[in-house]
């Protein structure tokens, strides 16, 4: 009989989007895992790379178009300045909840022992270099490398 009782030991969180609500969801899940003593690693791919792109990560926005939960007509959501307005409103609410900005959140994740990986294929597609990225990024991995990182009993994988 194995001693493994089914508990979660490691969370592998893949972030493929850069709208701020998705970025925060991924960050809260990774940080929450560490807070429970669960290991956590993140893989940033496609638009998710913007959350670890040094020049872009401070300027992420809420998606106001194509997001029915915004309760805003799609045409209105597309007006200039609308994303910035919705984003600043959301950031104010988050600060009230003691939610850090994206850069500070990344620093918290690193200090908590979360590994941060960028997807090699997406890096090449967007013509990004490692030097363009958040300085504490752990590295650039292929999907195969990421699967190897995931080895072990009790690992769960999540795609956002």
């Amino acid at each position: 009989m194995s001693e493994y009782n089914g508990e979660i030991r490691k969370m592998m969180i893949i972030l493929s989007k850069a709208s701020i609500e998705n970025v925060y969801a991924a960050f809260v899940l990774a940080n929450g895992a560490r807070m429970e003593g669960i290991e956590a690693e993140m893989f940033f791919t496609f638009f998710g790379l913007e959350a670890v792109h040094n020049k872009k990560l401070d300027h992420l926005h809420v998606a106001t178009v194509g997001n029915p939960a915004m309760h805003m007509p799609t045409m209105l959501g597309g007006l200039p300045g609308m994303e910035a307005l919705a984003t600043s409103m959301m950031k104010k609410e988050m600060e009230k909840l003691d939610m850090p900005e994206v850069r500070e959140f990344l620093e918290i994740l690193k200090a908590s022992g979360v590994k941060l990986w960028a997807c090699k294929l997406a890096m090449e597609m967007f013509h990004y270099e490692k030097t363009d990225m958040f300085p504490d990024l752990d590295g650039v991995l292929t999907v195969g490398d990421f699967y190897n990182q995931s080895n072990g009993i009790g690992t769960h994988m999540l795609f956002i």
């Binding site: 929450g32 807070m35 429970e36 003691d98 939610m99 850090p100 200090a111 022992g113």
Partner: protein, 102 residues
């Protein structure tokens, strides 16, 4: 429920958190730390005092807040309490488990 620890009976909930802080003392803190395989150093105690003061002032605790406490940064916090730091530290401090997601 009752729990016998450091020669005293204390009240704990189902997760082992003390429910009556007035029963807490340093010996109980040390014994609770021992259950989590932690030997308390002066830095641990400094942090436990900080946590108890914050809880007394009804100020909610989070990892981010501990990082800004001036006692430790977040990396040091994880080094002091390697497994689930906020949960472990509050349990040893005899205060309720923080309902924080960050």
């Amino acid at each position: 429920m009752d729990k016998l620890i450091a020669g005293k009976t204390i009240q704990v909930n189902e997760e082992g958190f003390m429910t009556n802080f007035s029963e807490w003392n340093k010996e109980i803190g040390e014994a609770l730390a021992g259950e989590s395989q932690i030997v308390l150093t002066p830095k641990h105690w400094e942090l436990i005092n900080y946590i108890q003061t914050e809880v007394k002032n009804e100020s909610p605790l989070s990892i981010r807040k501990i990082g800004k406490s001036g006692v430790v940064d977040i990396k040091e916090f994880y080094a002091l309490f390697p497994n689930a730091p906020l949960k472990t530290a509050t349990k040893i401090a005899g205060v309720p488990k923080p309902a924080s997601c960050i």
